[in-house]
Amino acid sequence: MTKPISTTADWTYELIDEYYKVIETIAADFGLDTYPNQLELISAEQMLDAYASVGMPIGYNHWSFGKHFIHNEQSYRRGRMGLAYEIVINSNPCIAYLMEENSMMMQALVIAHACFGHNSFFKGNYLFKTWTDAEAIIDYLVFAKNHIADCEQAQGVDEVESVLDSCHALMNYGVDRYKRPYPISMREEKQRQKDREIYLQSQVNELWNTIPDKVRSDEDSTIRFPTEPQENILYFIEKNAPVMSPWKREIVRIVRKIGQYFYPQRQTQVMNEGWACFWHYTILNELYDRGYTTEGFMIEFLQSHTNVVVQPDYDSPYYNGINPYALGFNMMIDIRRICENPTAEDKEWFPELAGTPWQESLTFAMQNFKDESFIAQYLSPKVMRDFKLFSLHDDASSNELDITSIHNKAGYQEIRHNLSQQYNISMSEPNIEVFDVDIRGDRSMTIRHKPTNNINLGETTAEVMRHLHKLWGFPVKLISEDTKGEQYELCRCPLEECEEEDD
């Protein structure tokens, strides 16, 4: 019988080290593939700091981070919010923050959750592999911070702040959703930045460089620029804004790249947290089975664990949407159950999954899906029953909500479909693309919104348009295209078109 590693709540470096080694062995036995780990011990104040910069270890300065910081600090001080136990950064080595206030059990939990759960997810999931480069992210953030600090020196804080404001407003539209991006790399960036500046300045811009032809054929005007609608608005601006100083282009690029870095995280919340919870749960239980921990440790653990994966009902005062930890964890556990002990129902729903080795199947699921497809693929009737899910139809023009399906045989498919769509980024964000630029005329840019299910745009649209105008430097127009292909104008900036733009 092995002796428990610790019996008290206090942690020491030696104990953390010992726990880490044991957990590492267990994780290796389960076949988890991870980046090397770096544990950083921080205080609660530092945790608040880390929060404010959305988990980026190094960030440029901007008032919006200050706003988040003040907000978190206030909530924390008044006890309305507890601090997260951990923050983990998708980098190589993978950086996990341990708070000094945590008990020894919490530290072990965080090690299992972050250093092996999240870490292996970052390394294995296809979205992270495609969109982020863990090797280079820290370097890139340093580069970004320095560049923006340099710009502030040269241009003044206000100037830089206003460019950042505009970029932030469009941050979610700085990603190529359908194209594979180039990974961010510090070395290339540095080498290319200078060239790019010179090049762009000299080229300002081939589009507009055309000496006005006296004879302009009619065909020309029918060719649209861009030839295809562009979903990546920031990229389009960076490359095509007619007059923009190089340092601004570089800032647009930085915001775009950072947006891209967070893009996979936005799409894999349920899976990422579910995976990490599944592994801390599995690893810590294994730790107990092998005799490394005491009963007291396990009871403390189970209490924190249950608090994390609880799902309040829709009518509970604590309800705040579906808890990604709860949904993810239960689905992961359920996949293991289907592999190990399939019921007749499971065999019918998941014939290719039932009875397979669970570690392989689970790893496959982790690697090749995002939330939307993961739910569409793996949400089982059992989980739907456990969560008592129901789906309703919300038509803004009616005063009543229709219950369309509940957790029964007739409803499973629809609920699964609807829930999966809820995690579809292109459903939760309006579909807006760069549609046209008037390259022969006033250089105005037209962007097009294609509403899904008649959902209009929110109140802040006009403001975003002002930001877009600021970046583009020439008039911008927002049009909406309905399902029949008819277009009408929603908004333009500046409002008076007749005003002469001086270029």
Partner: protein, 435 residues
């Protein structure tokens, strides 16, 4: 795996961002501060302040979905719904948002946060400075403090430094004795040779006697060297270091006669609060003296100053006389920075205004650093105002302004204490003169 202890790293990584936030929303914060200032007691300066600014000002816009259209939503925790049920739309996205807002007593449309007292002051007194600070600096702001600065050969006996003096005496004695002792030794040696080698005859005896005489004289001389000489004495030296006084006293003078209603007093109170906080920022200790008057003046405490009502006529000079006597009694203008703020609705006995003019110009204005007068009224200026106005030409440490409603206070205060340049002074004069 490696463990890094970051706890000792710099803690306030977010300070810059916090400052950026405050910087960006300075104007909104200023407005919020102006609204809250009345809720503070005059001397509550060191408190931090909760500030709320409208959320709509600080939100970050993005393209997002509006509320129209159709959508399907999935919720957990079905109780008794079956397919086909119709439920009324809950108000505002399911009642939970409302509930949370009311629980915490804070609406969703306000962004509430705390400013430290320093940040608060900085914003409140942005671009303001103490009046006349530069001009009178040498004359009045200076207090002297004695500080040790080495040793001196002259001074009073009480300042004698014993160790130093004795060291000097020892050195002097050694220095003076040395050549004498050397000579003495020499003579002694000669005497010895005489004693041992020479046959005692008359010549030798003569010589010996001579030697003995010299030795005796030398010994006497050595003995006569004083143990301590006035030359040895060292005195501790002090010099006077000029030190700006950190004491300030603020006189609040207010008319409490029947014509001053509570609202007018509230306006005056705000003005006093501002002045107090402003002084507090520049001086270590600020004392406040409250003088209320109708036909007689009386020194009172804050509570009575603002909240008790008197009736009767108004004699402003009574307050000025009382102030003058308090200054003489307790606040020597050489030691104290004296500020005075007078608030009134402009009523006064006609003959009294001239008296006020005299007291101010002969006694008060020369001894105070700044005298401000606010008239809280909508009427035409009366005699008192005119008398005061004539003082503005002669003295540059008096300022007067008219206030009609609470929102005027802050701008007026700012105008009083704006970083002074000739142009603002002139415009202040022109404006007041034009009324």
């Amino acid at each position: 795996m490696q463990i890094i202890d970051r706890r000792l790293n710099q803690k306030n990584k977010s300070t810059v961002n916090r400052q950026r936030f405050i910087r960006r929303f300075r104007s909104q914060i200023k407005k919020a501060i102006a609204d809250r200032i009345i809720k503070r007691g005059i001397t509550d300066v060191d408190k931090s302040e909760s500030i709320s600014i409208p959320s709509k000002d600080i939100h970050e816009p993005t393209f997002r979905h509006g509320t129209s259209g159709k959508r399907n939503r999935v919720f957990p925790g079905n109780k008794d719904f079956v397919v086909g049920d119709k439920i009324p739309r809950p108000t505002r996205q399911g009642g939970k948002a409302d509930k949370r807002a009311s629980d915490s007593g804070e609406g969703e449309d306000e962004f509430l946060f705390e400013l430290s007292s320093d940040e608060y002051m900085n914003i409140l007194f942005d671009d303001l400075e103490l009046p006349n600070l530069k001009k009178n600096k040498l004359k009045k702001l200076i207090n002297y403090k004695n500080v040790r600065s080495g040793f001196n050969t002259d001074g009073t006996p009480s300042n004698i430094d014993i160790t130093r003096s004795l060291k000097g005496s020892l050195a002097r004695r050694i220095a003076i004795q040395l050549p004498l002792k050397r000579k003495l030794k020499e003579l002694q040696k000669q005497l010895n040779t005489l004693d041992t080698k020479m046959k005692p005859d008359n010549l030798v005896r003569e010589h010996k006697k001579q030697l003995l005489d010299e030795i005796e004289q030398l010994t006497l001389r050595i003995k006569r060297i004083p143990y301590i000489d006035s030359f040895d004495l060292r005195y501790k030296n002090f010099t006077k270091l000029p030190q700006p006084t950190t004491n300030a006293v603020m006189f609040c003078l207010m008319d409490v006669s029947g014509s001053m209603d509570q609202q007018t007093k509230e306006i005056a109170k705000r003005f006093y609060i501002l002045l107090y906080m402003f002084l507090k920022r520049s001086y270590k200790d600020v004392e406040v003296v409250y003088i209320r008057h109708h036909t007689q003046a009386k020194e009172v405490d804050e509570e009575e100053f603002f909240y008790s009502q008197e009736t009767g006529g108004t004699i402003v000079s009574s307050a000025l006389i009382l102030m003058q006597s308090i200054i003489q009694e307790r606040y020597n203008p050489d030691d104290w920075n004296i500020y005075a703020a007078q608030a009134s609705d402009g009523d006064n006995w006609d003959n009294d205004s001239i008296k006020c003019h005299q007291i101010l110009s002969s006694d008060i204005l020369p001894s105070v650093r700044y005298f401000t007068y606010v008239e809280i009224t909508e009427r035409e200026p009366q005699k008192l105002w005119k008398e005061y106005l004539s003082l503005v030409d002669k003295f540059d440490n008096i300022a007067l302004k008219k206030i009609t409603e609470p929102s005027d206070i802050y701008p007026v205060f700012r105008e009083f204490f704006q970083k002074q340049s000739i142009s603002t002074k002139l415009s202040l004069f022109n404006e007041t003169g034009g009324r």
